[in-house]
């Protein structure tokens, strides 16, 4: 569990820094934004930080997600990295910027001794073809941001949504397009993005 605590601690330290991180004093190493996400197969709620390129077309996120037992039947801790590309159709209107078509990939790791990353002992090589601790997914979505006035450390506030599917469930669908429905393997997330630059 040390790694999990380390992640929380780092996350909290980074988030604490944002409150006084003004442009003039901003280290280039500080994340460009923080995200709070609901659902999306990476947590009931997930908190993340990330960096984006100058044009704001590429985002790289790192999330920690939590599912309480009362919600998910079991307590789940997951870390996820996500890469988003806001492809085309972006437009500005006043202080708003809409990025209507996003595609992305994500990979997650869930902590717990019941999950394995690589075939554990007691199994012949390749006994189970998929690791249960790792999952990878693809997503499409969109994002809208509003530039805020004043000199708050939060420069932009944004909302995003994603529709995503992940490895094993999508594979199940591909092999069973009559028995399974696309809605069986696609889920949605909603998120808040706070930009610091």
């Amino acid at each position: 569990m040390w790694s999990f605590r380390w992640i929380i601690l780092t996350g909290c330290t980074l988030l604490a820094n944002f409150s006084w991180a003004q442009d003039s004093s901003r280290s280039k190493w500080l994340p460009d934004y923080a995200k709070l996400q609901y659902a999306g197969n990476i947590g009931f709620f997930s908190v993340g930080v990330g960096y984006e390129n100058k044009k704001g077309t590429l985002e790289g996120d790192f999330f920690y997600g939590y599912v309480p037992e009362s919600v998910g039947g079991v307590t789940i801790h997951t870390v996820t990295s996500k890469l988003n590309w806001h492809t085309f159709g972006s437009c500005n209107s006043g202080s708003y910027k809409i990025k209507p078509f996003t595609v992305g990939v994500l990979a997650s790791y869930t902590f717990g001794k019941q999950y394995f990353g690589f075939s554990p002992e007691n199994y012949p090589y390749d006994y189970y073809k998929f690791p249960t601790a790792f999952h990878a997914g693809v997503l499409v979505g969109g994002q809208a941001n509003k530039r805020l006035g004043g000199n708050s450390s939060i420069r932009k506030i944004g909302l995003y949504y994603e529709l995503l599917t992940f490895d094993t469930e999508f594979l199940s669908y591909l092999n069973n397009t009559h028995a399974l429905r696309l809605s069986d393997v696609v889920s949605m997330s909603l998120g808040l993005k706070l930009s610091f630059k």
Binding site: G73, I76, T78, T110, Y128, T132, H135, S172, A179
Partner: protein, 265 residues
């Protein structure tokens, strides 16, 4: 801001009420009431059936990711009217995920006859054991129908590192010895002659059956139909086909024991 936020919040609220649209983890376990404790509920239905000699039971294993085959199996069973109930003998799922359990259940619930399931090695992956417990109940269980005591148990020893707890032979022995009246039919996913069955327990298992005059032991896992007598002790070991192979084992009870057929669908 509030002009924008209120419709957004409303939308979030509406969307959030669609349970299936928002998922929190592949490893989550969120079941409806109708998806819980299903072995006990089905056993109740089986025991409410009129007693019948020469009853027929369909046994199949390894539904895993063969959802279309499973749908066809359900249709086939529903077209027959001579089967008392169905046993899905382990590897219900491929990755032990609750979503997979729910997809399989969606098909099983279309059966016109009762069904019980046995846990398999794949069903124990990730939180699969917990899903099985919530959805179906205890891993080792038994029930009696028309003079046969069906004894169903977990025999996926590899999943627990061959620690001696699977299969639970003490439990099995008690089950067998507690019922001197009915014929005993032991059923588990992994056959005792498989490397995935604890080889320190396989001989003990075979002896237990032989000593109590049990003449048939039912398994799956190997994905193809076979009837063998591996311990040369008069006990037949049936391995049922898998869902993928589109065939199942049909057991017909008779005064001697059971007649076994491999039926394609």
């Amino acid at each position: 801001m509030s002009k924008i936020l209120s419709p957004v919040l409303l939308l979030v609220f509406v969307l959030a009420s669609c349970k299936d649209l928002f998922r929190f983890s592949p490893n989550e376990i969120r079941l409806e009431e109708s998806e819980k404790n299903l072995n006990a509920r089905n056993i109740e239905k089986i025991q409410a059936l009129p007693s019948k000699s020469n009853f027929k039971v369909a046994i199949i294993g390894d539904s895993q990711r063969f959802y279309e085959e499973l749908d066809d199996f359900v249709k086939h069973i529903n077209q027959r009217n001579d089967i008392s109930f169905v046993i899905l003998n382990g590897d219900i799922t491929d990755f032990g995920l609750s979503k997979e359990y729910q997809w399989v259940l969606r098909s099983l619930q279309k059966l016109h006859v009762p069904y019980v399931t046995v846990i398999g090695n794949h069903d124990m992956l990730a939180n699969g054991r917990l899903v099985y417990k919530k959805m179906f109940g205890p891993e080792n269980f038994s029930f009696t129908y028309s003079g046969t005591r069906f004894v169903l148990f977990n025999s996926s020893s590899r999943e627990v590192g061959y620690n001696g707890t699977l299969p639970d032979l003490d439990w099995l022995k008690k089950e067998i010895e507690s019922d001197p009246v009915n014929k005993i039919l032991p059923i588990s996913h992994v056959p005792p002659f498989s490397a995935d069955f604890d080889q320190n327990l396989s001989e003990q298992y075979a002896r237990l059956l032989e000593e109590h005059g049990i003449n048939l032991s039912v398994h799956s896992h190997d994905h193809s139909f076979s009837m063998t007598e591996p311990y040369h002790d008069g006990v037949t070991y049936l391995v049922t086909p898998s869902m993928k192979g589109r065939s199942y084992a049909l057991l017909t009870e008779n005064s001697e024991g059971y007649e076994v057929e491999n039926v394609e669908f």
